[in-house]
């Protein structure tokens, strides 16, 4: 497909619009914001994973001099009678009511002007619990022997969750089902059948700006300053909790010090609002880093995958059972379960597919979306599994994948026809960069070398809506109003480039106003790599409308067709001075057909598919299990890059984040208690963890329904990293790891087991 000719803004590697503010330390973030008269909140948290609250003693805390107030769940109910919130389920109380469901759950809140005073008072609160049996493992939770909640409370906004309302006796917040062809029959006649189970661990976003929200409640309205990826959702949800129209709730979001999916939907906002209502003062709830570990995490998962292959090496059937460990509150888990679940069979052309994907409650910190919306957990399993099949059949892993690849024009497991997916090009580019066909140095002595690759497919979440406004002022300068949050992905710069392209303006002259729901219109949320596509279209449409109005204005003042009179002169001609505005609006919502609830089949599952993969070379010390990734290649189809430099940094950053989740990051628990809740005990990638050779490439591609051929990029390079490394480990030393993280200890244990000298548990 040939791309239409465009002007000068698309494809420019322009530095970020907010670069100057960021390098000079003057960028605004919620965590460092203070309001006059503000009180600070410190939280008393549950010490048991599951229990009935017998008593909460706040008397001593209240007596601490200069403590303003101490509140519990009962106080919250006085101002918000039904204080349960959440994006998919209304299951999470602002402060615990009757029961606690995980260690770290907020139980009481202390307010004081001085945070140290509040902190000291929290230490004096005591709670007594009648402990109840707890369940931590997702497979045990699926047995429903221990129930986390008595009854399911789905938000009725989602049609596909309505049937779960009031359901009792289950930990399963959603069971998504997909059926295509007849998998059982195909397995029966397959020449080979393989079945493996893979697991992922609990990790977390750990944005360096910890969660923070400030609420300033007045009788006629509330203003919320918050580190959120979804101001429009916060507004809707707070309005619902208060029984107010949305126009009395104002949500302001400055830049985010990292988000990665952690700051989605609603986190501390409801608590800040309720406390401000009670205190009649502005209240700031800002977490310390250890508290972040008790707020939102990434789903651990168990994925049992079974594949049937015919005598020619063609995959004929795949069965996927995925259990997602959602923790104590659903957050967006049920969406992850479905919207990612339906891609669990991977980027392969398979006629017979059965997928069952289960969202499960457990007595652990809640889980949400983390850079991939569940996809990295799935790719980890299906690309490890696919490699194992290729090896078992004596096939080259690249060649086996290419034989079975799902190509444009073919139906995905959902029945949706694949379109604009440069999947083969991605795979070929990885192989090319790894010199796959050339002989490979396998190391010598105790140091062995191996290589591996993996590729993943995602369908962007649908249906979602974005609205934007483009405003041209009397001097010809342009301002864009959109609620997409720039949390580091460079969206402000990309939106300015799109608008600049339409209006023939340099992107750096365009201003993107700070996010404020009183000013910037609705957007579903900055998540799942959706913004460049959806908001990109909305700002494009708004700019096109403005452009049409500018042409109309030119006609009105008698300018000849095609006149290039400066905009300021055009306004001056019309209004007699520097005055007036031209305002364009744009709304974008793609077409979508909901899946059949019984089969998951739909003719239109998504507006665009995302594909990316990684190739790695590793070096393993067989005496210690020490693993070094010496080369990391990330290749993605991003459509046409709007800003190639920012695309490259997104690919690089995402892959390094996933490298941490692959090699060492893991939240450790003891009886539901996180035992490594600090950066001292939870290692994240540092500058020495960057592989010696790193390459990132966006293949030449074009998304035909995208804004100027573009589509999202933020999550892409997380897809292939984990399985590519596991595949390289097997290539190097012949052992297969099926559980993340891939630590030196895990490699060493596997080597010893292979050697018939297994190590003990300690």
């Amino acid at each position: 497909m040939t791309a239409p000719v465009t002007g000068k803004q698309i494809g420019r590697s322009l530095p970020r619009l907010e670069a100057r503010a960021k390098v000079s330390g003057r960028a605004e973030y919620t965590h460092i914001l203070r309001l006059p008269g503000m009180l600070t909140c410190k939280i008393f948290r549950s010490t048991v994973p599951h229990g009935r609250i017998k008593s909460i003693d706040i008397a001593a805390a209240r007596k601490v001099p200069r403590v303003y107030a101490v509140y519990t769940g009962d106080d919250i109910r006085k101002v918000i009678p039904d204080p349960y919130y959440g994006p998919a389920f209304h299951d999470q109380p602002i402060l615990a009511l009757n029961k606690v469901h995980y260690v770290g759950e907020p139980v009481a809140a202390v307010l004081a002007e001085d945070p140290h005073i509040a902190d000291q008072a929290v230490q004096l609160i005591a709670a007594e619990y009648e402990e109840l049996p707890a369940v931590f493992d997702e497979l045990e939770a699926a047995d429903n022997k221990v129930l986390v909640h008595q009854e399911l409370k789905p938000a009725t906004t989602f049609a596909d969750l309505k049937h779960l309302k009031g359901v009792k006796g289950t930990n399963c917040a959603l069971d998504f089902k997909l059926r295509r062809g007849d998998a059982d029959k195909a397995f029966a006649s397959a020449a080979h059948v393989f079945e493996h189970t893979f697991k992922t661990q609990r990790v977390l976003h750990l944005a360096f700006e910890p969660f923070a929200s400030i609420a300033d409640y007045k009788d006629d309205g509330v203003t919320i300053y918050t580190a959120s990826q979804s101001p429009s959702f916060v507004r809707t949800e707070i309005a619902r909790l208060l029984g107010w129209p949305e126009n009395r709730v104002r949500v302001k979001v400055p830049f985010l010090g990292g988000g990665y999916g952690g700051k989605l939907y609603i986190k501390l906002e409801a608590m800040a609002v309720a406390l401000s209502m009670l205190a009649r003062r502005p209240v700031k709830v800002a977490l310390t880093m250890d508290e972040v570990f008790y707020t939102i995490t990434k789903h651990p998962s168990t994925f049992r995958i079974k594949t049937g292959v015919d005598k020619n090496g063609k995959i004929v059937a795949r069965k996927c059972d995925v259990w997602w460990n959602g923790g104590a509150y659903a957050d967006v888990g049920p969406r992850v379960t479905q919207k990612s679940g339906f891609t669990a069979s991977g980027p392969y052309d398979i006629d017979n597919v059965a997928i069952d994907s289960y969202a499960l409650y457990t007595n652990l910190p809640p889980a949400g979306a983390l850079r991939g919306f569940g996809i990295p957990q799935l790719v980890w399993a299906y690309e490890s599994h696919t490699d194992m099949i290729a090896r078992a059949l004596g096939r080259d892993p690249l060649d086996f994948r290419k034989q079975n690849l799902l190509r444009d024009g073919r139906p995905h497991a959902t029945g949706t026809i694949l379109k604009d997916v440069a999947i083969e090009k991605v795979l070929d580019t990885i192989a090319e960069r790894l010199d796959w066909e050339r002989p490979f140095d396998r190391g010598s002595g105790t140091v062995k070398r191996g290589r591996g690759l993996a590729v993943g497919l995602k369908a962007v979440i649908s249906p979602t809506t974005s609205v934007a406004i483009v405003n041209v002022a009397g001097d010809g300068s342009c301002t864009v109003y959109c609620s997409t949050i720039d949390m580091g992905q460079g969206s402000d710069t990309a939106m300015a480039q799109i608008v600049g392209e339409v209006l023939n303006m340099a992107a750096e002259t365009i201003r993107i106003v700070p996010r404020d729901t009183d000013v910037t219109p609705y957007d579903m949320g900055t998540l799942g790599s959706r913004s460049l596509f959806h908001m990109g279209h909305a700002v494009r449409l708004a700019a096109e409308e403005a452009k049409a109005k500018i042409a109309q204005l030119a006609r009105e003042v008698g300018e000849p067709e095609g006149s290039n009179i400066p905009l300021a002169e055009l306004f001056a001609k019309k209004f007699g001075m520097q005055a007036g505005n031209i305002v364009g609006t744009g709304t974008y919502k793609p077409d979508y057909v909901p899946p059949d609830p019984a089969t998951g089949q739909t003719s239109n599952a998504t507006p665009f598919w995302m594909v990316a993969g990684s190739g790695v070379e590793v070096e393993i010390d067989t005496e210690t299990g020490q693993l070094r990734v010496t080369r990391l290649v990330n290749v993605a189809d991003v459509g046409r890059p709007i800003n190639p430099k920012i695309v490259e940094t997104q690919l690089s950053g995402a892959s390094l984040m996933q490298l941490g989740f692959t090699l060492f990051e893991k939240m450790h628990f003891d009886g539901g208690q996180v035992t490594n809740a600090s950066l001292a005990d939870y290692k994240i990638p540092g500058i020495h963890d960057v592989p010696a050779v790193m390459e990132n490439e966006a293949v030449e591609a074009y998304q035909s329904n995208g804004p100027f051929g573009a589509k999202g990029v933020g999550e892409l390079a997380t897809f292939g990293v984990s399985p590519a490394i596991a595949n390289a480990i097997e290539d190097a030393v012949g052992v297969r790891l099926t559980e993340l993280p891939l630590t030196a200890e895990a490699v060493f244990r596997a080597l010893r087991a292979k050697d018939n000298r297994p190590l003990g548990d300690e």
């Binding site: 960021k22 203070r34 985010l256 010090g257 540092g686 500058i687």
Partner: protein
Amino acid sequence: MTAARTINFTLNGRAVSAEVKPHHNLIEVLQGQFALTGARESCGQGLCGCCTVLLDGKPVSGCLTLAVFVEGAEITTIENLGGSGDLDPVQQAFIEAGAFQCGYCTPGFILMTKTLLARQPQPSDDEIKDYLSGNLCRCAAYPEIVNAVKLAARKNKTG
């Protein structure tokens, strides 16, 4: 809680005084009393480097520096870099190399780079990585940060 006392120190070249309590760290004082928010507390353990400031020219973690101990000292923060509207060459290099995403950790990396280049004007890649290994970036802009330091070193050489 114990009584406050007045401390005097030099902040970004100006003599200042502040009311501090024994448990206040330097970041609380810079943010609360001087509205300087470029140094931010993130991990609270001196491990991430987001709170880096210069104390008598040496980089320290502001979150681990008790404010009472800066009596008589010279404190420099990111806000002091760059003159009248001009960016410092290191800041400029970070922009040109695209060496940040969310920007939360960026002031710390820039101050560290300033002190590295003062000590070693033309550092090798290994020297850069070793010197910056106490600063973390969750967006993992590390390859671009190394490039920014090299670019700043080149600017120094030619400028």
